[in-house]
Homo-oligomer: 338 residues x 2
């Protein structure tokens, strides 16, 4: 049967308190007893029961991560760096996939906060702050990742969405493009809203007509871009901005099939998924925006651990910057400027 701490105590001829303290180095134990304890442990093959321990201490050493889409390279990479951060600190990672479904997110948050995890990392698909807020038990450590709310009640780690889009429009306008289309993600997401708003402001600032028909929304899933593309092409766009990696590769592929030439028939700026070598092929035909996914994950991981250890720490907002890779700056090989 299961070996418990009492078995070890009995065999070593000490109390369970001593065994516990020996294992956890939580008070002084003479070298002698320590040896006896470790001997008993290894002879019995004892492993402390994690669930008894978390029950007793209230610490699960586990963080939950609510993700909108695991198989999306952007989030997969983020999960990887979050996991790395956690494992270094002895924490485990529980994944919940919402598939951009608000009800699923709700269920998952409820489940995870009910004593399963010490803290929560959330890339929320919920658009209503009140709805989100009431899911979180008072004082529960939460860090928002990539997506935020207007109300700044929770700490967050995000990537600036405004700057790269604003710049994209300006650069395209500078090239002489007049009808610049944009394909955003789900309209309810903070990231999408920020990008669209940057687009609108930049269009206005550059003196270009803000035609509502130039704004399209995809769902960041496979093939959601093609419909938007058809519509934008009908609007006679001379340039377009695609706000997400998967939709960007779909776009490239789709235009390629249609025989539309990048940088010639149409100018393109697109978000690229970190590390995906596919975009290299087109690196000299379009501008690209690369988000610092790994840093995002690492930073979010650090933040949530900090919050778990220090729940009363002040709200923290970190905004990272994407790198912008313009394609035709003379002499520039890989000018990832910020």
């Amino acid at each position: 049967m299961k070996v418990t701490i009492s078995d070890v105590a009995r065999m070593a001829g000490v109390s369970t308190a001593t065994v516990s303290h020996t294992i956890n180095k939580t008070r002084y134990v003479s070298e002698d007893t320590r040896d006896k304890v470790f001997k008993a442990i290894s002879e019995l093959g004892y492993t402390p029961d994690a669930s008894a321990r978390s029950f007793r201490t209230g610490k699960k050493k586990t963080i939950g991560f609510i993700v909108p889409d695991i198989s999306n390279k952007f989030f997969a990479t983020m999960i990887e760096s979050v996991e790395q951060c956690f494992s270094q600190e002895g924490y485990h990672l529980i994944i919940a996939n919402t598939k951009e479904d608000m009800d699923r997110e709700e269920t998952n948050i409820r489940l995870l906060t009910a004593g399963l995890v010490d803290g929560l990392l959330v890339a929320s698909t919920i658009d209503d702050f009140a709805r989100f807020d009431e899911l979180i038990p008072a004082g529960f450590p939460v860090v928002l990742v990539d997506r935020t709310f207007e109300t700044k009640k929770y700490s967050s780690v995000c990537v600036s969405n405004f700057q790269p889009i604003y710049r994209s429009v300006c650069r395209l306008a500078g090239k002489g493009d007049r009808r610049i289309g944009i394909i955003g993600g789900l309209p309810r997401l903070s990231t999408t809203k920020e990008r669209i708003s940057a687009y609108q402001q930049a269009m206005a600032d550059c003196g270009l007509e803000a035609d509502q028909n130039l704004i399209r929304y995809g769902n960041s899933m496979e093939n959601s871009a093609s419909k938007c593309l058809d519509e934008l092409l009908e609007e006679h766009c001379d340039a377009m901005i695609v706000c997400q990696g998967l939709m960007a590769s779909d776009t490239i592929m789709y235009l390629h099939k249609k025989g539309v030439q990048l940088g010639k028939d149409i100018d393109l700026v697109s978000f690229e998924d970190y590390d995906s070598s596919f975009y290299q092929l087109y690196a000299n035909q379009m501008d690209s925006i690369v988000q610092p996914v790994e840093e995002l994950g690492r930073s979010a991981g650090e933040q949530i651990l900090r919050r778990v250890r220090e729940p009363e720490a002040p709200i923290f907002e970190k905004v990272l910057t994407s790198s912008y890779r313009p394609y035709n700056i003379p002499g520039a090989q890989n000018p990832s400027d910020r």
Copy 2:
């Protein structure tokens, strides 16, 4: 402070046993009491503490998944379907990323099996069965995914590696290719071994010279393919087989850059990552092998849950089949034959 089951019992004027049974529907409770209990629960905002519950019952409702590389699309997709399977059954998923490092796998298995999860799904990077075996506590529910061991002590869900590679060689030989190279993954993995062995057998069966220099191993990470490619090109290959999705896209890109034309200068057969639209561009220039990742994940998920519920169930070995997409069969649009 924390609301416990006793608070609810007190408020509802019943015993904790009744509250517990009401919540869990584990014995009959009169409609009257039931109402009182639920009323108290909602008034107090009570949520049963998951860790107390798992401590008491020994069930964590959580499965661990040991993955070699989360950001690899193949595994990311698998994680997604595993997660979906679990969430339907009220189970949670803990991810551990080994990065193809045997020591990390060892640590992770030890941690997870120590009372953190009810069962383990493992895509192992360990090559030595004995080493793996001694990490698993006796009777602990384990299902191997994608990668197995010679010794069939654990249930497994895999994809046939032999058949598609054998067929690839035959098809290439049939086209008249003589020097067929192959790029495998890490040599120690069962998947790699099976593929290389299929390759060797097929080469022999087709009467082609089995030159050791035609066999190269990458590590399935970004850019690991290019070195292998250079070497194979120097060996004057007229065809090559690339055994992994990421290396395959690297290959395509690299050959493209070098001006080597697919299906003309060189014949290519490659594994494709499920759902990645990139390969579509080249669908008419090469044969491709698509593994049933989602089915693999779903099936593995089902198997481990079954094992958790029925630990004495007989060892189960499931082998799925990849679909093979030859490119130039007349009239075939997308003949995913098995």
